[in-house]
Amino acid sequence: MIKEFTKGLIKENPIFIIVLGLCPALAVSTQVVNALGMGAGVIFVLLGSNIFVSLLKNFIPPRVRIPSYIVIIASFVTVVDLLMKAYTPTLSDNLGVFVQLIVVNCIILGRAEAYASKNTLGRSVLDALGMGVGFTLGLLLIALAREVLGAGTITLFPMGNFNGTIRIPGLVESPARVLALATGALLVVGYFKALFNWMETRKKGGA
């Protein structure tokens, strides 16, 4: 049972291994706070759609299952969008149109079709959580690399007298600015992917 959760974290990590759901992931990976916000949004939608698809799997006619899944997913995306606009407006501004684009995130439709439509509610919930958290971790990794190296800061939520931004001495004065720009996202993913490939071959070689 616990495997349903952990497989999404490392073994089938959505971003690096299956290279899915990259579209919404990359554009908002400029700041750590955006990655966390996007991750939360994706977890919410994934959880909601997996729950409903699993519950309704006997109600939904097989021939129109994809449109039905899309309606369910789009509804949860709209809920996330409205809630973010109302309660976390700054985050909503930063993520912009990419919140609505969660709907075409291949991971979510993929999990509904491949997993939730065939499994029990409990398993689907764990699957959604695992995949969602895995997605968030992957995105967080990209955002950390881009923000730390590209801007010399780590932006989190402002709390109390902490203004929300950690400045890294030495890097903040002259960061590798190219990583903060659009090109940096593609470079970072490329290098991470190579790193994962390398680790994979080493593991195979060792075993």
């Binding site: 290279v19 899915l20 990259l22 579209c23 919404p24 992931a25 990359l26 554009a27 994809i66 449109p67 899309i70 309606v71 789009a74 509804s75 995306v77 709209t78 969008d81 409205l82 149109v97 609505q100 684009l101 709907v103 075409v104 995130n105 291949c106 439709l109 190219v178 720009l181 659009a182 090109t183 940096g184 996202a185 593609l186 470079l187 993913v189 490329g190 290098y191 992917k193 190579a194 790193l195 490939n197 390398w198 071959t201």
Partner: protein, 196 residues
């Protein structure tokens, strides 16, 4: 903004793949050879132009008058999904050769972020009907351009020696990144100087 401005914006300055990362899946997936890149590119241009025009009409003629703009995401994605189906069936009936060329790419388009992306962005920028159509067309051309460039790079890369961990998707991303760097030469200030 003038129509020329919209074209330059979406083909170069805000190239969907290279600056907004919309449509990355096909960018990496279908860029293995030039032939499939061309097929995919034309399919995307066609669907994007239609989709942005139709979603413009739905947003401005139905959603706004009824004050239900919060249903935007759900209606847009359904419209795009049915549009792709419809286009597929029509092409199959009218022109079998064209269907053979584009057919296999059409189903892939439904979940292509770029299509929903242009529909949402055209609404956000408050273009008129013509502007939306041109924005959709230009974004499609920008997508086609990036995909075509990428596929020629990758055909070339197949002949070169690449360190083992970087082979495949990894080097494709890095090449894409370098291409994005080149596209940074096009910016809004340049556009303003060109067309005022």
């Amino acid at each position: 903004m003038t129509y020329v401005g919209i074209i330059i914006t979406f083909v170069f300055i805000e190239n969907f793949i290279l600056t907004k990362f919309l449509g990355l899946c096909p960018f990496i997936g279908v860029s293995r050879n030039v032939e499939s890149a061309v097929g995919m590119g034309f399919a995307v241009i066609f669907v994007m132009s239609l989709a942005s025009l139709i979603t413009w009409a739905i947003y401005n003629l139905i959603l706004i008058p009824l004050n239900i703009t919060f249903l935007q995401t759900i209606t847009f994605i359904l419209v795009i999904a049915s549009l792709v189906q419809f286009v597929e069936m029509t092409i199959q009936k009218i022109s079998p050769p064209l269907y053979r060329a584009l057919g296999i790419y059409l189903p892939l388009i439904t979940t292509n972020c770029a299509i929903l992306g242009i529909a949402l962005i055209a609404v956000q920028y408050e273009y008129d009907a013509m502007g939306s159509f041109i924005a959709g067309f230009s974004a499609g051309v920008g997508f086609f351009l990036a995909l075509l460039l990428m596929s020629t790079i990758r055909e070339r890369l197949d002949l070169e020696w690449v360190p083992k961990p970087f082979r495949g998707v990894s080097i494709a991303f890095i090449s894409g990144g370098l291409m994005a760097l080149a596209f940074m030469a096009f910016d809004k200030a340049l556009l303003r100087n060109l067309i005022g």
